[in-house]
Point group: C2
Chain length 330, copies 2
């Protein structure tokens, strides 16, 4: 290569660097403050070559809870709305449901009686909605449902009930060489049909709860049949188990919002070298919901104590986020 | 940008393309023939933009069996050599093994009696070797073992008993925008400590059989304890289940060598659009081993019939591979 060419390239490179330095704030929906700074500082620390805290890209694993961390979870987990809708859709094929609980109450709209059935009622509804079809059929059912499903309070598409600041954080981490994963108590196959479009997270980077499946040849055509039997519960102490099973290495950074994420954050924090743990605290009753220690959904009690004691980043949604949902300001 | 700069860059780009066109054969250890051609043609077809068979990079998933497909599996699965060594190492801590089968026979070197114990004996040895420690401890045990473990016949490191043509194929697929996964009946955590170094496949792209693990806090320190209980068997009909669980989309290409891979190939072949299925046939008793329909290890019977009937690519190791192992020609 001629020296003249080299100097042209050097100039171009310098110009590119200058452009990046002048680039827009990677987290424009975050107010300046301790939470935002802790993110920026951590990313700078682990991505600066030559720094003692530098982490090679292959080890930059970031794990995110979904419900209450990437999208809302009030007044009830969105996947349960799916299950309710699904049971209503299937009801004509199940005349026996008219006289079988919890289906009878559900179909009458008597949610109080459904709730009185507790875990068992919820489990029966979930299995009716999620099992009994092939994996491909379920993919289509979930994709079709999420395409139009709206939030009971805001009337927005559920895929718009996503936190804009967290989308920016996901993109910022990926730009910084991180591989981003979802680690959710929600159903793995419920999230996969839309996780790439909504979060930029491909199906192979989604970890979640699952039911068992079985390989079968139907008229010579291979299918995976979804069985009404729990395979794995990716919540609480299950989250580190799911992370090890799917990723096989410890995350560098973990993001959650409830006690169900605590073990994931503990597992992340216990790794060697720099680690980053962040909790989203739902403090904004105006723009979103305010709940923590006493909430049935997304209880944040032990996690809040431990985050405070250990100095993990706690996002105060009300003060730290300029904008909450993706639909705001559109 | 000045026109002069643009023309410099254009020249550089043209020069780079010319270099690539002149680049070496991506599969130099493969003899020219039907098998090699089928690979090159498939990759060209799905990666040529504008082609009706073009597949976007995110959908370019390639899955590889490990034992007998990426590395050898004779005279016995290498992971079982690990289990045998591990039991010998642990024997001083288990005086009761002197009088308990299959350990007593194993420690006396009486492998005939061990074999007579069948699946149950093998299971007991495997559980003794693989369970009872934390995930981190096991990672180190497996990594330390593989660093020096040698093949009983060739005396080569096991990590050199890897097929050079398959390494080239893995690299070629990755260069062509594919994401490469291992889908093995072997233990997921046995493979992960070395899969990246040996195959260029990171831990999160390794799928395998597993035992259950349990999250615990030990003196406040989180650990994952490996339990002596099967979690998932990633073999035969389990392979499509494992693929769906970990990847969540159907592979575009699948590579195996035995009947245990048949369902994985069927599942792959049944996808829409172009798909590629390849079987490695062990036909070379001189350089490797020759076995198929009657072998206890890596039986290739139903798979061979189906591959022939459906026109899948069958690699005749003897005639299709110029070089077999990575250590040859070094």
């Amino acid at each position: 290569m001629k020296p003249a060419t080299i100097s042209t390239l050097t100039l171009l490179a310098a110009w590119a660097v200058a452009c990046t330095a002048r680039a827009a704030d990677p987290l424009p929906s975050w107010n300046d403050g301790a939470a935002k700074n802790s993110i920026l500082q951590f990313v700078a620390k682990v991505t600066t070559e030559g720094s003692p805290d530098f982490v090679k890209p292959s080890e930059r694993i970031a794990v995110f809870d979904n419900d209450g961390t990437l999208w809302a979870e009030q007044p009830i987990y969105f996947q349960f709305l799916f299950a309710l809708d699904r049971v209503k859709t299937l009801a004509p094929q199940h005349p026996e449901w008219k006289t079988t609980e919890p289906f009878a109450s559900l179909l009458k709209g008597d949610m109080k009686s459904v709730a009185a059935g507790g875990e068992r009622a919820i489990g029966a509804i979930n299995m009716a909605a999620h099992a009994g079809m092939t994996s491909e059929e379920f993919h289509k059912i979930a994709a079709d449902w999420i395409a139009t499903a709206k939030h009971p309070k805001t009337g927005r598409l559920l895929t718009e009930m996503v936190y804009q600041p967290m989308l920016e954080l996901l993109a910022y981490l990926r730009t910084s060489g991180f591989k981003t994963f979802i680690v959710s108590g929600g159903g793995i196959e419920f999230m996969r049909p839309w996780s790439e479009k909504v979060y930029g997270i491909p199906p192979e980077q989604v970890i979640g709860s699952s039911i068992k499946t079985k390989f079968e040849l139907r008229d010579g055509m291979p299918v995976l049949v979804r069985l009404p039997e729990l395979n794995f519960m990716d919540d609480g102490p299950g989250k580190p188990v799911g992370i090890q099973m799917h990723i096989g290495r410890r995350p560098l950074a973990a993001f959650g919002n409830s006690d169900g994420d605590l073990q994931m954050l503990q597992w992340t924090a216990a790794g060697n070298g720099p680690r980053f743990c962040l909790y989203v605290h739902h403090t904004d009753a105006q723009r979103e919901w305010a709940y923590d220690r006493d909430s049935m959904i997304g209880r944040f009690d032990k996690g809040l104590d431990e985050a405070q004691r250990r100095g993990w980043t706690i996002v105060d949604m009300k003060t730290d986020w300029k904008r909450v949902f993706v639909f705001e300001g559109r």
